[in-house]
């Protein structure tokens, strides 16, 4: 079952050779639906009372090195698989262009391959296979930004690539080191996670820097925090986002960043608990600074997409803080936040994309008053903003509340500082909303799209004379866009009011992890 989930998109990509370019997108959307149904089936077949890996598939792949093709799913991987499966059709619907893009088939193939990489990363239970899928993801993303990106796409894509590559090479070295240790301790070379978990990795508290466990931890965790991205390794993200096509941005923000935090919860914490505890203060500090720093940078942006990108840096900071808090509530909250940030950031990037498609700008100073001509978009944008600022009743609250609550039990000061993000998050989010949807219109009227300007129709007395304000009528969301945003909206409120319906499945696995870590 898991193999089918992972490779369905790849098979579909190969079959693209027989599909005419004109229907490639519809085809890809169909595949994403099929993939979603498979994930749904997995969801309902999943046994929520067990913390063990389920639906495991283990086949030797490179026997001489003990590398296996091994997949499995537990309560930690499940919500992320669900997220990836849920986001894909939404990403297609929300970014359906008016005209076909260049090299449409190749574009679709990249997106499909990307999905395989994402599923594989979340489902791999062999470290080398994990690495394999981790790297697979890079290739389609590289093309998505490099070919269909904005003007400065080459710089962005090379930066994205080199950054991630440096991290993952270290990870590869560490994987083989672990395999070598397995040979010593277990008598057989293996990269299966379940085998490697049995290793005893020496950690010398007196001289941690030279302990194997600490070195291994650092090699893995560096790769992960670059992906998250945690400051100071974050500068690839705004560039990548700004240049990427909307579909790429949606996948990047919603799912790809979570690969980093997933790596931490799947590998760094359980395999290297002592080293994690040792490094926790530094990582939490960086996470906390990231929350505030990301928020400050977001506040200063005039580029809408860059603002959302920096908000991701800020929100992902919460997850790093929560994961390294060694507190059950905060660790659970971090997993929730991974999914919830995925939803909100996907929604926000789709909004950015819809606006760009209509007005050909991302400059926040060139929007305004759009709530009048695009009321549905205004509603959708508002809901995603609320999720992003973690308003209770939205999914965003569930993650941030639990992370802060759990972290608070660990350190009052740290949680208090992170909590400042609650204030600054509102500052930049509402700024963006106001500049786009409210106030006077600053839209420049161009010839090539249907525009119709008229004076402010608001009939409140005593206003409106003197300076003339203009409302530009631009078309509201299309049926596909409405569907995409509605699906996200349903998730936002259902999980906001009934978080257990979604996160209940993770409870046992999370508690097992917390117990293993000795978390409070």
């Amino acid at each position: 079952m898991l193999s089918l989930i992972v490779f369905l998109p790849t098979i579909a990509a190969l079959l693209l050779f027989f599909i005419p370019s004109s229907v490639a997108r519809k085809y890809a959307f169909g595949v994403s639906i099929a993939s979603f149904l498979l994930a749904l089936n997995l969801w309902f077949s999943f046994d929520t009372t067990s913390a063990a890996m389920q639906f495991s598939e283990v086949i030797p792949w490179i026997p001489t090195l003990g590398i296996h093709y091994a997949l499995g799913v537990d309560g930690i991987a499940l919500p992320l698989v669900a997220l990836a499966a849920f986001i894909a059709p939404i990403a297609w619907l929300g970014t359906w262009p008016q005209e076909a893009v260049q090299k449409e088939k190749f574009f679709v193939a990249c997106a499909l391959l990307l999905q395989t990489g994402m599923y594989g990363t979340f489902l791999a239970t062999d470290l080398f296979l994990f690495y394999f899928f981790w790297e697979i993801v890079l290739i389609p993303m590289f093309f998505l930004i490099g070919i269909w990106g904005g003007q400065n796409r080459i710089y962005a894509t090379v930066k994205f690539f080199i950054y991630t590559m440096i991290g993952s090479l270290l990870m590869l070295v560490a994987i083989f080191w672990l395999a070598g240790m397995a040979k010593e301790q277990l008598g057989t070379t293996t990269t299966l996670m379940s085998d490697l978990a049995k290793l005893s990795l020496p950690f010398n508290a007196a001289n941690p820097w030279m302990s194997p466990q600490a070195l291994l931890f650092m090699a893995f965790t560096l790769a992960f925090v670059i992906k998250v991205p945690m400051i100071p390794f974050h500068t690839w993200l705004p560039d990548a986002h700004v240049q990427a096509p909307t579909l790429g941005s949606v996948f990047l923000a919603a799912v790809l960043l979570k690969m980093g935090t997933y790596g931490i919860i799947r590998i760094s914490l359980p395999f290297f608990p002592e080293a994690s505890l040792w490094a926790a203060p530094v990582l939490q500090a960086l996470g906390c600074v990231g929350i505030l720093y990301g928020a400050f940078c977001a506040m200063a942006q005039d580029d809408f997409k860059k603002l959302v990108a920096y908000s991701s840096v800020s929100h992902m900071g919460y997850i790093v803080v929560g994961l390294f808090s060694f507190n059950t509530i905060a660790i659970s909250g971090s997993l929730y936040q991974m999914v919830n940030h995925g939803i909100a950031s996907a929604g926000l990037f789709i909004v950015v994309g819809m606006l760009y498609e209509r007005l050909h700008t991302r400059d926040l100073n060139k929007f305004g008053q759009l709530a009048k001509s695009t009321p549905m978009m205004a509603v959708a944008f508002m809901i995603m903003t609320l999720s992003s600022v973690a308003l209770p009743g939205t999914n965003g609250f569930v993650g941030e509340f639990t992370i802060l609550l759990g972290t608070f039990q660990q350190s009052i000061v740290l949680a208090g500082l992170c909590g400042l993000g609650v204030i600054f998050g509102a500052v930049y989010s509402l700024k963006a909303y106001q500049k786009v949807m409210l106030g006077p219109s600053n839209v420049e009227v161009h010839g090539h799209w249907h525009a119709h300007a008229h004076s402010d129709a608001h009939d409140d007395h005593g206003h409106g004379h003197g300076e003339e304000t203009f409302a530009v009528v631009t078309h509201d969301m299309t049926a596909k866009e409405i569907l995409a945003m509605s699906l996200l909206t349903v998730f936002v409120f259902v999980v906001g009011f009934f978080p257990e319906t979604f996160f209940g499945a993770s409870k046992v696995s999370l508690e097992a992890l917390a117990t293993a870590l000795g978390a409070k």
Partner: protein
């Protein structure tokens, strides 16, 4: 008191949500678009469910005599030992507030139908209003602190949406944003307080918390530093929502929303959430006398401070806004001296008379073609007899004229401030001063609006008209409540003359919010109480009359006393607090953000990254192809690089 399972709390909560879904989703879907809903449909879709909720609240209220009503439909979240139930409870405190919210809410829904009859976005307006009622009910019915916070943030959102209802105007959109962000500062305090509570108790459930507070109180076995810190953190939350120093700045700006919204949200209900929260957690605050002292003084200073600003405002809504800040200060003053019951009492009477005054001002503004400047009114009594009559009752009530509602509650606060063991003489003195100011600025408001010379311009005068019945009905109902609402809390001293009429409210709230006992001396010698009562009555009558008479044909204090000019300028400009905040907080914050983004990030971190990249490039000039912009070449390098790396490591691993 025993809690009995009942579905009433859930129904009462969900009815306004139904109004929201109707106006926000179903009607627009049926009409295929926003902004097409007719006034009648929009008003009916929101008002009827709320009216029904009011009836259910009355039913529930009847049951509270013997037991409270509880429902826990599901568990919201559970992680390890953290269990948060979606638990709703109507007890005597939340029951009273539910009546106020649904009752006054219904009246204001009715008023709005007429007041905003020509508004295009009426569907959106009623959707927001319904969402507000839902959130406010969740705030008071929630039996777990996080649920209170749900409502707390929900009402904040609705406030944001309604303040910026006419969103195309930058100033109004800004006011909404300011409200939201200022409140967020308070919310952080609230969250920290809640987290501290969880750290100490390990639960968010009010029943568990209340029992724990009682246990702490009797055993004395608690960390008084943590308790004090918790109370102060929660109070920071209250200063945000209930507009106290230093976070009050959003409320006056919030008046740019439609006037009925000001009446419901920014006077009668939402802004009292902080008072409700403290009353709900009274057992905790009782353990932190230092925190209470802070609350009492902040309340007192806010009351005086806002009162002085109110006297210099020309905009009728601004007067009422600062008056609200001031009256909320009174409520916190009461909380701060331990008179939580009295705070709730004033919350109730204030809801009556301030909603009335705001709706009245709405009626005036409606009549005067959206003119809000009182210096351009005058003599309106002749044209708006009903509005004048009802507003006069509201004014008498807020001024504390005997035996209108405000008299009872304000008098009780003043007396508590001096007589209770937790009382402070300075707080009492400030309270008396503020009471005098209140009567003066209210008198001035009445005078400028309704009495004296007619200063209306010709155009407005032609269109001057008394409001229609749909607007007058809520005014009269509220006027009735503002007039007699005080008799729910007749002080012992006066009760003796009224067939020993008891303090109904005190008896009612007792099981949830216990009364603090007066020292024996005060009970034996009621002379102090009599003096305070007589004194404040005389003060109120004199000051209100002064306010009316002095400002009959003068609009500003400066016109009465020329030496007052510089001070009046400061007051009219609200002590320049907005300007100070702008210069001391907002500007530096924006600059700091700019530095983070443009200097640290672009030049510092990214500069270092690019520097490393450039350095590496110089080492291997051949790799320059990567930067040349040819994707294929770059891709090739990527594949080659990966392959080399993998091969190298495979070889290494074999060794």
């Amino acid at each position: 008191m025993e809690a009995t399972y009942s579905q009433l709390p859930l129904f009462i909560l969900l009815l306004p949500l139904m109004g929201f879904i109707l106006n926000g989703l179903i009607i627009p879907l049926l009409l295929k678009g926003f902004g097409r809903t007719s006034v009648g449909a929009a008003a009916a879709a929101s008002t009827l469910p709320l009216a029904l909720a009011f009836i259910l609240a009355l039913v529930a209220f009847g049951e509270l005599e013997s037991h409270s009503l509880l429902i826990e439909p599901y568990q919201w979240l559970s992680i390890g030992t953290l269990k948060i139930n979606f638990s709703l409870k109507i007890d005597r405190l939340s029951g009273l507030l539910t009546l106020i919210i649904t009752g006054i809410g219904t009246l204001i829904h009715l008023f709005s139908a007429s007041y905003l009859a020509t508004e295009k976005g009426i569907g959106r307006y009623y959707a927001y209003l319904s969402l507000f009622c839902f959130s406010m009910l969740l705030l008071v019915l929630g039996n777990e602190l996080p649920l209170l916070f749900f409502g707390w943030e929900g009402v904040g959102l609705c406030s944001y949406l309604l303040i910026g209802f006419w969103y195309t105007e930058t100033e109004k959109a800004n006011a909404g944003k300011k409200a939201f962000i200022t409140n967020r500062v308070g919310d952080l305090g609230f969250l920290i307080g809640a987290f501290l509570l969880y750290k100490m108790v390990g639960s968010f459930n009010f029943d568990v918390l209340t029992a724990k507070f009682a246990e702490w109180g009797s055993s004395g076995n608690y960390d008084s530093y943590l308790v004090t810190a918790t109370c102060l953190a929660l109070f920071v939350g209250a200063t945000g929502k209930s507009a106290q120093i230093p976070l009050f700045v959003w409320l006056p700006d919030a008046m740019s929303g439609p006037t009925p919204v000001s009446a419901l949200i920014h006077a009668a209900t939402m802004v009292t959430a902080g008072v409700y929260m403290i009353a709900r957690l009274n057992g905790l605050f009782d353990l932190a006398p230092d925190a209470l002292t802070v609350i009492a003084y902040i309340g007192a200073f806010t009351a005086l401070f806002a009162g002085t600003i109110a006297i210099a405002q020309k905009d009728i809504k601004k007067v009422l806004a600062y008056s609200t800040v001031s009256q909320l200060g009174f409520m916190f003053m009461a909380c701060g001296v331990g008179a939580y019951q009295t705070a709730v009492f004033h919350l109730m009477t204030h809801a009556f008379f301030k909603a009335l005054l705001f709706l009245g001002s709405g009626s005036v503004i409606h009549a005067c073609h959206h003119e809000q400047d009182m210096t351009k009114m005058g003599g309106l009594k002749k044209y708006l007899p009903h509005t004048h009559f009802t507003m006069l009752i509201g004014s008498l009530a807020i001024s504390g004229i005997p035996f209108f509602s405000g008299f009872f509650s304000k008098d009780e606060i003043l007396y508590s401030a001096i007589a209770l063991p937790g009382g402070h003489a300075p707080v009492f003195i400030i309270g008396v001063l503020t009471a005098a100011l209140t009567a003066i600025y209210t008198g001035r408001m009445m005078s400028l609006t309704f009495y004296g010379k007619e200063r209306l311009d010709h155009h407005t005068k032609e269109h001057l008209h008394e409001s229609p019945g749909l607007m007058l009905l809520p005014l009269y109902v509220l006027a009735g409540l503002a007039a007699i609402g005080g008799f729910f809390g007749v002080p012992h001293l006066l009760g003796n003359f009224l067939h020993h009429m008891p303090h109904h409210l005190s008896q009612w709230l007792g099981p949830v919010v216990p009364a603090r006992e007066l020292p024996l001396m005060a009970i034996k010698l009621p002379i102090h109480e009599a003096v305070v009562m007589a004194g404040s009555s005389v003060l109120a009558i004199v000051c209100f009359t002064l306010g009316v008479v002095l400002f009959k044909n003068k609009q500003t204090v400066t016109q009465l006393m020329s030496g007052f000019a510089p001070l009046e300028k400061i007051l009219a400009n609200k002590y320049y607090i907005d300007e100070i905040y702008e210069a001391a907080i907002l500007k530096p914050l924006a600059s700091f953000a700019k530095i983070c983004s443009d200097v640290v990030d672009r030049l510092g971190i990214d500069g270092a990254v690019n520097g490393v990249g450039n350095g590496a490039r110089r080492v291997g000039q051949r790799l320059k192809a990567i930067q040349d912009g040819d994707v294929q070449t770059a891709a090739l390098w990527m594949v080659v690089g990966t392959a080399l790396a993998v091969a190298g490591i495979l070889i290494l691993a074999r060794i």
